[in-house]
Symmetry: C2
Subunit: 730 residues, 2 copies
Amino acid sequence: MKKLFTIIAFTAQSLYAQQHPVTFANKSDFKYVETQINQSEVLNSSFRSIKNQIDSLLNKDIDVPVPKDPAGAYTHEQHKSNYTLMYNAGMLYQITGNSKYALFVKSIFLKYSQLNPTLKNHPQATSAFPGRLFWQALNDANWLVYAGMAFDCIHDYLTPTERVAIADGAFKPIVNYFIKDKKNWFNLIHNHAVWACAGVGIVGIATDNEDYLTAALYGTEKDGKAGFLAQLNGLFSPDGFYHEGPYYTRYALLPFYLFANAIQNVKPDLGIFKYRNSILKKALDVALNQTNLTGEFFSYNDALKDKTYHSNELVVAIDLAWQAYGFDSSYLIIAKAQNKVILNKGGVDISKKIKSLPGNLIYPYHSAEYTDGANGDFGGLSVMRNGKGANLSSLIFKYTSHGLSHGHYDKLNIQFYDKGNEILQDYGAVRYINIEHKWGGRYLPETNSYAQQTIAHNTITVDEKSHYNGKEDVSEMNHPNRVFGSVSSSNLKVESAIDDKAYDNVKLFRTVYLFNLPQSDRKFVLDVFKTYSDSTHQYDLPFNYQGTLMKTNFKYISNTNALSTLGTKNGYQHLWKEAYANRVNPFTQFTFLNNKTFYTISTLADDSLDIFFTRVGANDPNFNLRREPSYILRAYGKNKTFFNAIEVHGNFNPTTELNVGSVSAVTSIQKLQDNDEYSAFEILIDNKKLLLIQCNKDFQQKSEHVFNFGSHQLKWTGPYYLSYNQQQIQ
Amino acid sequence: MKKLFTIIAFTAQSLYAQQHPVTFANKSDFKYVETQINQSEVLNSSFRSIKNQIDSLLNKDIDVPVPKDPAGAYTHEQHKSNYTLMYNAGMLYQITGNSKYALFVKSIFLKYSQLNPTLKNHPQATSAFPGRLFWQALNDANWLVYAGMAFDCIHDYLTPTERVAIADGAFKPIVNYFIKDKKNWFNLIHNHAVWACAGVGIVGIATDNEDYLTAALYGTEKDGKAGFLAQLNGLFSPDGFYHEGPYYTRYALLPFYLFANAIQNVKPDLGIFKYRNSILKKALDVALNQTNLTGEFFSYNDALKDKTYHSNELVVAIDLAWQAYGFDSSYLIIAKAQNKVILNKGGVDISKKIKSLPGNLIYPYHSAEYTDGANGDFGGLSVMRNGKGANLSSLIFKYTSHGLSHGHYDKLNIQFYDKGNEILQDYGAVRYINIEHKWGGRYLPETNSYAQQTIAHNTITVDEKSHYNGKEDVSEMNHPNRVFGSVSSSNLKVESAIDDKAYDNVKLFRTVYLFNLPQSDRKFVLDVFKTYSDSTHQYDLPFNYQGTLMKTNFKYISNTNALSTLGTKNGYQHLWKEAYANRVNPFTQFTFLNNKTFYTISTLADDSLDIFFTRVGANDPNFNLRREPSYILRAYGKNKTFFNAIEVHGNFNPTTELNVGSVSAVTSIQKLQDNDEYSAFEILIDNKKLLLIQCNKDFQQKSEHVFNFGSHQLKWTGPYYLSYNQQQIQ
């Protein structure tokens, strides 16, 4: 790192000789866009939608109000709208050459030049990092990014006096607030600080202010421990896995790409897009592979489920990545779905390439084992895929570290998607972004009291306490360890990880297997979740299923006339106990229907277990939580094994009313052995035996194992053996 | 009716000279289809999907199992599949001329000829009308319809001996069971009996059995009091409104059209498609206008919400209607969306016409006032529309009679759709059709205990009892009366109806207004719901909203740690009381979000009122009910007025995160007068006055009214006056 910094510092040149515009695109790029406007429908409509918007406002007086409101309400939305208008009108000026657009931008800027020097902390500011124009500094950083590019576009239109007036009036108060008053925040390795650096850096380039740019690249202390390059080093694993998860990758990719693009334009010698083995390309690719069939980002950590790769951040990232890294057919598939491009060379090229592409292509989703942590040694996340086209199933196994302030207490959590639907969900965050009515669009208290808690996840909660007792600073220091696994076979994906830090004196060991039953259209997830402890505990393993209960093979008691909560704290206070079953026969089945497909969870607990059907919604006085169900398995003891077979089966067509395969094919589960050395299970499916033997001690790929059952001996190599009807699945 | 019957009987001719096939299409029609197969993509793919299905099964032994299972399970699904296979293969034989298809059909028929004579009542039969092949006779009727057409297609391929074997073995046991053992059922005026008549009639034509056809047309007593013509007379109002509602129209249209088509082919003199002023065309048109933007049928009465005009029944009806009635551009829009045609002349013509049509056209939805009852004098239903294209809002006001066994206790109910979403819902039925796990796909007990009850609807329940005390026979004899209204203006739709039979000693009087606020994108429904009684009652008016609570202008108490039910019977036992507010300030607002749009209900009760936030799901031991919310206004007294303004506002875009208009523009409601003569309200919206004066006594269109407020006098003509900012809306 240190060496690298030296080289970079050496190549840095003065900005003063700079031509403008340069941050987003230069004059000839914009000219090129202009010549190509009618060459493709997508480019043309992207251009038109901006032009129509601005043209309809050109003769109006644009309000630059004194900041007052929270997110979702008037002054917030107006300032947000203003920076987009300025940016769009700035580009229009460059593309069309019509000075009315430049005048429009200038007149707004002059108002900000009056307003910004008068601002103190926003009246709705509630965080440690309040903004000036907005309730949080993050939004002020957004403003800088777009306003900076807008200024750059009209730089040459402005008189030198006007430039100084805007630089000193509109920009300086916010930049100084960031790099002086809030320098601790500005120097963080966190998505907010990425926006802050991008904003300050882009304004630096636009206003020819080398100091700003240096602070943005290397931190306020100019030592490279903070700033954009440190963020590129610290926020991604070597694979490109972003520490805060896909929802925030989406958000961070925008300033990463916009600022990198600006840096590339003024300091090409820095080779920013090649930095860290092209970490920005990896970051984009990992983000895209962490979406579901219709583009929704996996919802683990604080995530809102309606965010997809159609969002503006990904349009910008795809088109800039195309420009920076060249042809990538997977980007075309995304761009086709986005049906929108940005007004630069990358956007033009892509818009032409996707013209002849058919619609509804599916991104080349693939299985992957991502490491977490800047050095790739802080746990990780495996994405396991099965099935082609729209028949895709995705099993996500999470053994990452915490993921900063938006992480959850969810060690060894799984999430399962099938045919575009979320089947075993991660609740995501409790937030109605930008909706004034819902606490100004902020994260709601139930994010912490429910969504981040362990019980909200498909993993084990011990003694009704969340992992690390819900302490972020402790969680941030630790992570599970992957012990074995492979996603390279098309037949079988396996991943296994151990966590012995989430609880004192309890070790959690989970292994999941995803495969198609040979000669069958049934898919299975086998889930072996073992606990080890010297003392007796209560272990709760929820399946937060999405769907409607169809059938159980056991009797349960419904709380039909009154409901109470499952517990009193750590998320349990938010769960209504709709029904329960005590000491259930060890072979337990539960079938639910989600969107025309049936799913059955067949369970063998190592002795009798309790089961709860719960629903989210208790202690929710403001109706912030979705009323969603969970199926919770509870066992008491020291060393316990939860063995579950999750089966995907059947198809119900409500149009034709034809219904096939609605009944589970699993008719029994038997434990053959379960000790320190092996866990072995025999599952009867369609009257044939599925055999799983898993090693609990020796996880070496090359170790040879012998397993005796009865007079029969089985030999294999590696940490597990799976067969159906005596044929090995591997 | 009597006279008509004579004429019809006179024109009836013997079937014995009949050429085959004739029921679905004749030889030259099928030949025409063959020549056109490659002329359009839709026709070709419709043909291919049938051909691929049959070709994949040609060499397989098709199982004709002994009936055993309920709906959704093996034997049920197999017999259902078999009749489709026979029908499809029969058509393929005619179209391709390849006798392998005829042989395929014959071999299945011969198995049925063995099986059917041995059958008694189905072992899963639980209704009064059990089937033989299926659990209910209705499904046996389905079988007759398709098997009849299949037989007709291979009629000439069979030897006379084979024909007799099939007619006597496969058909006769079921037909005789219908027209002899179950003649009371066969002679009903009800959708089941429509299927039964169509089945017996089509088999009659296919097997040259005049007796069957006569029974099908005129009932088993051959007196015209039952049978197909009586059904055409009795099940529709003169407008074509089907007594059981749109969900069952969809279902009944299939046998209506298939049998009418067959009748037209053998007895063209009957002019069946022109019968009763082309009642079958009206029926189809009324059904189509009772769908929402994406084709879902309005969900009142026992309905499943996933049924759309894409369903097979509507493909058949559209294509046969095209053949019978000629060009209708609205049918092309539906056919384009269906993307499928049937293999007859109508299907061929339509497939060519829609080739050049753009996708995503919207059916020409329009406002309408439909009457109910064979003579149009049994109440009715108004459909009020506002807005163009995807911005369509639909308000449904229901003052029909009961609607046979699938009707609900829902006098004066409203339902509201906006932009394709159901905003104020009718729950529909509680049923998972054809899903074995859910009581064999039958109607579940909660249909009666909850969905049919008054409290499940957006209308008033008095003293926690359903309308007519939940007695179907009483409800069937009565209906509300429309008192005034108009849907002819594009600005304002108004409908008003009174019911004084649903409760003893209580009169219910509801008037709804749908309009756009002038010079605004805000839509409003004003809802004036008055009760009259000599004695004190509890009046509950629910708004079964779909969405998430955003905001209220009043404080409520949440039942955060324990839930109890709202009541103990008549549907109340299924409602959890999530929160409540007592004696709320008369100007009360509640805002919710549904799919990016905000909706606010602003209420003025005539004195203080109680409010409940409830959720469906109590006393639901089998998890059959959806967990959906309701907002219930409760008032106590004799004569009460519920005045509500339902406002459609704002737009939240989760992709751009821009949010506009999320706050209601209504800031107060004042009652100016509310007595026997007038109800007058002043609503402050954006600081301007919306004034509504409604007449409560004189509903004449031509009556002149004078209303004094203060020194000011207002004059108008007709039963209501509405103005905004002193400009009349009309």
